[in-house]
């Protein structure tokens, strides 16, 4: 079942066009990986899905992006509500310089999700458990989040993202700043999370895309070259460019 349906998305940074007619169907409760060389527009596309491009003044998005029949690329859309439903994890772990507890509780607080302290404690605990961080931090919830290791920080960011029970989580190269062990933990986590949420992940590592995703899209120079089941993309791509990229001949 399709969760997000993008049609003819064009993105411009000032006069420079970054995305050309991208159309893609993202399935519900699956992991969709977006791969491609640097500057190909995969992150730009990802940021269209929670309207993070709004922050960039010169950025202009055209086309239609629908999530459950709700038009995302509309002026009337309430971005605060959208971002409650579409969480995001960034390339570099960026926990708030606050305590671990406050980091996870921030979303539920501003969206008024928890009614009481007990409920909030419960949300924090569940989120941290889902992010596989609970056992490591349960005794030091009042320590500063930025004091954790890189991998722990990224899992804290994931816990923060899932604390408001979003339907979609966007991940922008979540493992590129992490060591292999931390990367493996995050990948395991993605596997668990996809039972409940739809995940779109941008990654530079083709092996990671192959490991975690069910669908893969290959971007090149702002165009979506090929999109399909991960198995097919990696084993038997239709497009020569995809084939070349997968086999490491360019990019």
């Amino acid at each position: 079942m399709s969760k997000i349906k993008a049609e003819n998305v064009n993105v411009y940074y000032g006069s420079k066009q970054a995305l050309f007619d991208v159309s893609i169907d993202i399935a519900e409760k699956e992991v969709t990986a977006l791969i491609g060389p640097s500057g190909c527009g995969k992150s730009t596309f990802l940021r269209c899905l929670n309207r993070m491009n709004d922050v960039i003044e010169i950025c202009r998005v055209e086309g239609s992006i629908k999530m459950d029949n709700l038009e995302l690329n509309s002026r009337k859309l309430d971005v605060v509500r959208l971002r409650e439903n579409v969480g995001m994890v960034f390339q570099k772990p960026n926990p708030f310089p606050k305590t671990i507890y406050e980091n996870v509780a921030y979303g539920p607080t501003i969206h008024g999700i928890a009614q009481s302290k007990e409920e909030m404690d419960q949300i924090v605990e569940t989120s941290l458990k889902k992010a596989a961080l609970w056992n490591e931090v349960k005794d030091r919830l009042d320590e500063i989040g930025t004091g954790l290791s890189g991998g722990q920080q990224q899992r804290l960011c994931i816990a923060r993202a899932i604390s408001v029970s979003p339907e979609v989580i966007l991940m922008d190269e979540p493992c590129s700043a992490l060591d292999p062990i931390a990367t493996a933990q995050i990948e395991e986590l993605i596997d668990d999370l996809k039972k409940e949420v739809t995940i779109v992940i941008v990654t530079h590592s083709m092996s990671q895309a192959a490991r975690v995703s069910q669908k893969t899209g290959f971007f090149h120079l702002g165009k979506l070259i090929e999109f399909g089941p991960t198995d097919k993309i990696f084993k038997n791509p239709d497009n020569q460019q995809t084939q070349d990229y997968i086999t490491g001949r360019f990019g």
């Binding site: 959208l82 971002r83 969480g87 926990p95 921030y106 979303g107």
Partner: protein
């Protein structure tokens, strides 16, 4: 390695060594200047913290005091005539002196000696009718002689202390009747035309009030302006224009702000002249751009990843700013504020224009009472001819410096606490 390469390498090492030496020399020079400056101030000023007293005996004679009542009330003591008693206390130092020469003795103590005689009795009513020792403030000339700041070997007609007075001074000093004690009145008295009585209480309070008013006006306005410009305002020609103007404002000579205060605050709004309220507002015009620039710089320094994190969680712009960006920028903003206030603390010119240079011999209790400020006090005293004011100038500078150091220390402590909490 061939010789060309060797030479090149040697040159590079030498260049670095030379460069390090330039740096060391520069720092050495700066430290020398600082040391000379400090030595100057301390060697001249430390004696101002000592006060010289002349000890004599006073006879609280009921008849001379013109007190008739058997057991006089407080009012009776208050209204008594102390002139003769005080006069006698001084002239008793040399009973052989002809009456027409008595001024020479009276001049050795401050003109307030009669009040001092009165205050002692008011404090100790049981002294009435008794002969008791009393400490009288020495005149600034005797004070300077005692501190060794006054040359005794110049011709008598060029000296403010004549030979007879020196003789009396030597006699008293030998008897141990010249006392030197910590100068409390320097901190508790307002300004005075007489160096021995002048203190910094008025200007100190004036400075405190001015700085508080300045902080109260400039901090909120500057921080709000900085937050709006940095986080909310669209980036266009108009905001660029504002930014350029704020930067220019920071470079405007302070006396111009003084003229503005004079022309607008005093002439148009009719605020009370010579008061810390007007002084503080005028100074806040000066600190405003400094704080705005510092606050904007520290807002800019907050990593964009924090903003993205908050926005991606669904925080509004306002929540992102108030929950994350502003708290993170506070240490920088506060230190910028302190720098701005420290500049304002040492500012003299604008305060002179708005009339805070007036001679004030009362201690202000509120920001709308007339007051001087420490730097203006330094200016006023440095204009005075009396030798006694020379040490006061240096002492006042020391107090100003101590004030500055305390402020910076407080800023450091606040900053340290914030930084611990936020990183």
């Amino acid at each position: 390695m061939n010789s060309f390469k060797k030479n090149l390498l040697k040159k590079r090492y030498n260049a670095e060594r030379r460069f390090q030496w330039y740096g060391k020399i520069a720092i050495g020079l700066a430290l020398t200047f600082l040391a000379v400056f400090m030595f100057q101030i301390f060697s001249k000023g430390y004696s101002a913290f000592q006060k010289t007293w002349i000890v004599t005996e006073v006879h609280y004679d009921k008849e001379l005091l013109l007190i008739d009542a058997e057991s006089p009330s407080k009012d009776d003591l208050e209204n008594a005539d102390y002139y003769d008693v005080a006069y006698k206390a001084m002239t008793s130092l040399d009973p052989g002196l002809p009456e027409e020469e008595d001024r020479q003795l009276i001049q050795m103590v401050s003109y307030k000696y009669e009040t001092e005689v009165k205050d002692l009795l008011l404090k100790n009513p049981d002294f009435l009718g008794k002969i008791v020792p009393i400490k009288l403030t020495a005149s600034d000339d005797v004070d300077q002689v005692h501190k060794g700041n006054y040359p005794r070997d110049i011709p008598e007609k060029n000296r403010r202390v004549n030979d007879y007075q020196l003789q009396i001074y030597d006699m008293l000093n030998e008897r141990g009747d010249i006392l030197s004690e910590f100068n409390i009145s320097f901190f508790t008295s307002p300004d005075s035309r007489e160096a021995e009585l002048a203190g910094i209480a008025s200007s100190f309070m004036g400075t405190v009030f001015s700085i508080l008013v300045c902080l109260a006006f400039s901090f909120p306005i500057a921080v709000l302006a900085a937050i709006y410009l940095e986080e909310f305002a669209p980036k266009n020609k108009f905001t660029d224009f504002i930014e350029v103007n704020i930067n220019n404002l920071a470079a405007v000579p302070s006396i111009v702000f003084g003229l503005l205060g004079l022309g607008v605050l005093l002439a148009v709004f009719n605020l009370p002249r010579s008061t810390p309220l007007v002084g503080g507002i005028t100074l806040s015009l000066m600190t405003l751009p400094t704080i705005i620039i510092a606050a904007r710089a520290s807002l800019k320094a907050v990593p964009p990843s924090i903003r993205e994190a908050a926005l991606a969680m669904g925080a509004s712009n306002m929540q992102t700013t108030m929950h994350h960006t502003v708290p993170l920028s506070m240490p920088g903003t506060l230190s910028g504020t302190i720098i701005g206030l420290a500049q304002a603390l040492g500012e003299t010119a604008p305060l002179i224009l708005i009339g805070m240079v007036a001679f004030v011999n009362t201690i202000p209790g509120t920001p709308v009472d007339p007051a001087a400020s420490l730097p203006v006090q330094i200016y006023i005293w440095s204009e005075s001819a009396e030798r006694g004011f020379v040490e006061k100038v240096s002492a006042c500078i020391m107090v100003l410096l101590a004030f500055l150091i305390l402020m910076n220390l407080a800023a450091q402590i606040v900053r340290h606490k914030f930084e611990k909490k936020w990183s």
